[in-house]
């Protein structure tokens, strides 16, 4: 009797399993779509901070005493040479061009431009874009886009930065930034069929720290360690889409960033 039951159960189990042709997807968390938008947005903000940081580092090098220039160049631009031609600075081997005015960008009123002439996909997708950096006070700057060339057509931003020097001599980054402001963008990536329009407002100042990636400390991105940001997702192909996302950074460190995402009324913690 036991053997018959066993065979019956085996048959049921085999039959039941055989009817599942393919396992279902991993069940996403309720706020995972909102978290994805936040990840993309941090990349966009990081790209702009990286561009601003290159400009400020170049100015630090230009303003340095002659005997300190080599040391600063080795730290801030270990992979490139700095070349000047016809009023434009270029980091050799990169499509990055910096247009200074006649004043140091650390002087209030100074306005410099930086141009990423070609897109890059080295770490995450980085479009070609143009930025205007204006010094608004002591260690404070405003970053905005000044034309509709390149990716600027799909991106608007107006960010106020407060800088604090990175003291670690092994880091190639120049500043830690506290950011306030707003912007919007159409995502940039490998696909050309993007229809989302993502707007963000940094409601409570966010502090972005440089984090190195890869094998060398010369490459870095900016990641938020504190602050709040609210985002809105719209779709140019569907006017009914108006999704709100709220991000609250609870704690941040080079190894772990803990934050709350509130999306469609649900709050979940991520790290």
């Amino acid at each position: 009797m036991k053997a018959r039951n066993f065979i019956f159960m085996m048959l049921v189990a085999i039959t039941a399993n055989s009817c599942i042709l393919e396992d279902g997807d991993r069940v996403p968390k309720k706020t995972e779509a909102g978290r994805h938008i936040w990840d993309i947005t941090t990349q966009v903000i990081s790209n702009n901070l990286f561009a601003a940081d290159l400009t400020l580092k170049l100015d630090l090098w230009m303003s340095a005493l002659e005997e300190e220039k080599n040391q600063i160049e080795d730290r801030f631009f270990p992979d490139n040479k700095i070349r000047y031609s016809a009023g434009v600075w270029n980091l050799t081997g990169t499509p990055i061009y910096i247009y200074p005015d006649d004043k140091s960008i650390h002087t209030p009123g100074a306005k410099w431009k930086i141009l990423f002439a070609e897109p890059s996909f080295e770490y995450h997708p980085l479009p070609s874009f143009h930025l205007l950096i204006e010094c608004t006070g002591e260690l404070t700057w405003r970053v905005s886009n000044y034309d509709n060339e390149g990716y600027n057509e799909n991106m608007n931003l107006d960010l106020d930065l407060t800088g604090r020097r990175v003291e670690t001599p092994t880091s190639a980054a120049g500043y830690i930034y506290t950011v306030a402001g707003e912007g919007d963008y159409i995502p940039f990536g490998y696909s050309t069929t993007e229809s989302l329009i993502i707007s963000y407002t940094i409601s409570s100042e966010m502090t972005f720290y440089p984090q190195t990636y890869g094998y060398y400390s010369s490459k870095y991105i900016y990641r938020p360690y504190s602050g709040d940001c609210s985002l809105t997702v719209n779709d140019s192909r569907n006017s009914a889409i108006n999704d709100k996302i709220l991000v609250e950074i609870l704690s941040g460190s080079p190894t772990r960033i803990v934050y709350n995402i509130t999306y469609k009324g649900v709050t979940e913690t991520w790290d």
Partner: protein
């Protein structure tokens, strides 16, 4: 391709019917007996249908857009279930070693689409396939209680697919695909006389890779027909 397959299936069916008619004619002339016939009901596991995954495979491995990823994360797909191949066949014995017939099969598969936000079902992906497969069965071991055989079948089928577009969470338009129905059986065995059990392995095709079922065999009573 479809026209050729259709013509081939029609030709096989006509051939089977002609052969059947010949046997009937032969029997009616001789007044001896009707041919042995059987009806089978079976269930086959993992039948081949027209929704092969590799047809949807993108060889360029293009990264999905942020838009598609965003909408994709708002839904998720449940397990894909299949009914297997539910088949019913009829055949007649035209020679001691040869049976001819045809099988009708149904294969259904479905999976639920859930909303990530509520885990509720918001849509269902389904496909329903129907196959008509004329079959030749070669019995190479013939005893009163046990028969072993191989078979080959060729016919036509159609699949009604109702997909769901995960990138925007909306249902896509249903569509129909036509194609051949092919079944090759390396080894089949039936056990029983009038009511028999059968199983087929070493098979591939629209009836499944492993088939099991029951059948009813009608063997005319010789004495009755000769009276």
């Amino acid at each position: 391709m479809f026209k050729k397959t259709l013509m081939l299936a029609i030709a096989v069916t006509i051939f089977a019917e002609l052969a059947n008619g010949q046997v009937r004619y032969w029997n009616s002339n001789r007044g001896k007996q009707l041919p042995e016939a059987e009806v089978r009901i079976s269930h086959g596991l993992l039948p081949l249908t027209y929704d092969f995954e590799f047809l949807d495979f993108h060889w360029d491995l293009q990264t999905p857009s942020v838009t598609d990823q965003y909408y994709g994360l708002q839904t998720y797909r449940g397990n894909l279930y299949s009914t297997g191949a539910l088949s019913m066949g009829h055949s007649i014995k035209v020679a001691k070693w040869l049976e001819m017939g045809a099988t009708l099969s149904y294969v259904g598969s479905f999976r639920n689409i859930y909303a990530s936000e509520t885990n509720e079902i918001i849509d269902r992906e389904t496909s329903r396939s129907f196959f008509f497969t004329p079959t030749l069965r070669f019995a190479w071991f013939n005893r009163e209680w046990v028969r072993m055989y191989s078979s080959v079948g060729l016919g036509v089928g159609l699949m009604i697919k109702h997909p769901c577009n995960q990138s925007n969470g909306n249902s896509s338009e249903p569509y129909i695909e036509w194609g051949p129905s092919i079944q090759l059986t390396g080894f089949g065995i039936s056990v029983g006389k009038r009511l028999f059990w059968f199983s087929e392995v070493q098979t591939i095709g629209t009836l499944g890779v492993f088939t099991m079922g029951v059948g009813l065999r009608v063997v005319p009573d010789k004495r009755r027909w000769q009276r």
